[in-house]
Symmetry: C2
Subunit: 291 residues, 2 copies
Amino acid sequence: MELIDGNLIAAAIIAELKAEVAALPGRKPCIALVRVGDDPASVSYVKKKEKTAAEIGIAGRIHLPPVTITQAELFALIDQLNADPGVDGILVQSPLPKHIDEVAVFRRVSDKKDVDGFNTLNLGKVAQEDETGFVACTPAGIMALLARSGIDLKGKHVVVIGRSLIVGKPVALLALQKKAGANGTVTICHSGTSNLPAITRQADVLIAAIGRAEFVTADMVKPGAVVIDVGINRVPDATKKTGYRLTGDVEFTGVSAIAGKITPVPGGVGPMTVAMLMSNTVKAFRQNRSA
Amino acid sequence: MELIDGNLIAAAIIAELKAEVAALPGRKPCIALVRVGDDPASVSYVKKKEKTAAEIGIAGRIHLPPVTITQAELFALIDQLNADPGVDGILVQSPLPKHIDEVAVFRRVSDKKDVDGFNTLNLGKVAQEDETGFVACTPAGIMALLARSGIDLKGKHVVVIGRSLIVGKPVALLALQKKAGANGTVTICHSGTSNLPAITRQADVLIAAIGRAEFVTADMVKPGAVVIDVGINRVPDATKKTGYRLTGDVEFTGVSAIAGKITPVPGGVGPMTVAMLMSNTVKAFRQNRSA
């Protein structure tokens, strides 16, 4: 079994972006990071994004509207950022307060600055294999992990567990694309799938994005398969100071004993998402400049 | 084996639309049909669409620019139709002459009048399960055939052969949706799939959209499976006056002997596409009126 080290691969991508940005003449790329309220997880995520941007040489503009902001006020902020030629990418940190329609907010972000890849138009472009679009960071991160681990999906059977809009569907569409490295045969399973283990056991590459702690067990995996674990779940653990530990959607001890390659949690897919956000920001900068 | 009669089901939908349109007060829905040049197949398709619209009570506005029209001129025509409040749906008949970028033309059509469902935004809405969008007519027709034949995809394994943007990908996304009648587990195969028969034999519902005459043979089908044949291929046939006969992607004689239900070619999926185009036009009329 070989561990796919997301920290290492993300660090390599960040180093490449840093060199790329350093070579850019004139104004550097800029990402606007919008965080509504003070949700502790969001505070930590935005901090991480800000830090990574700074490391690469991407300017970060932080906007911290209060949790009481109205949808109209948030739209006004987004419109202002959409119109600002000094802003290349816009990230609105999820989750948003309940009184705000998250999908409407994601749609409000200009598709040309949608570095999160949640805009409907960019999702359509993934299906169309239109490279001018932005791919959502988690599925893009999974594809980068596979590519940089030397895993070519051509002729392979890729089984995705989970049909979310953020991971399952886009990663299925990416694995299916006609381009080099992709070209997989793709099956999408979910909570309503009958006889799931019989299907997952056919996977040459198994992508678990179902959001259930240690759901994928060794009996569900073909020996030698590549296993990508997208889950981040908190399970109670009295031995930890926090009272919980983080675990993926894969029962790591059992599955790693038979898998060919596997991502750990944490340190697998997680670090890739921030790297891909930065990669999208540099792409947005280049595209909007040349437009 | 039970035949799924597309002519019958399409006629039922057309009759329902006719009743629905008759009950509408005021101006009736209107579809603009744009046909560039005189390609014989296009002439016949547009005529069929015009006739079906008239039967339902949908007004048809026919635009017949010459094959020499420039892309800019075609864009100007589309812009004019987009802006016209009397036009609810716009269909630009494919194929277009080689000097015109077809995808760019489909994108130029307002997503609110895109009754063909080829606009990138509407494709994204299929992935998002956003019912305000328009679904392309062939995949929508396949789903209607299944629903009206009493086939519920819940817990079923749906295997799609073909990953085109017009059929394979959208029908896969539709079969996967969380709504009633869908909820299938979906596998998408294509020309690069290894050991295809082993996968297709797992299908409870097999959708063939690969564009190769009689490609799916009995050994690739599980006894009792539902088989939907999307192909329309011309094969040479000296016994015919035309010199060819039409055949699907399924070898009908062999497969129909073991399938549970099967669509014929012609008379299966084909007639459904025009019915769904009309259904989309009535939907566009309602949505644009209430907007």
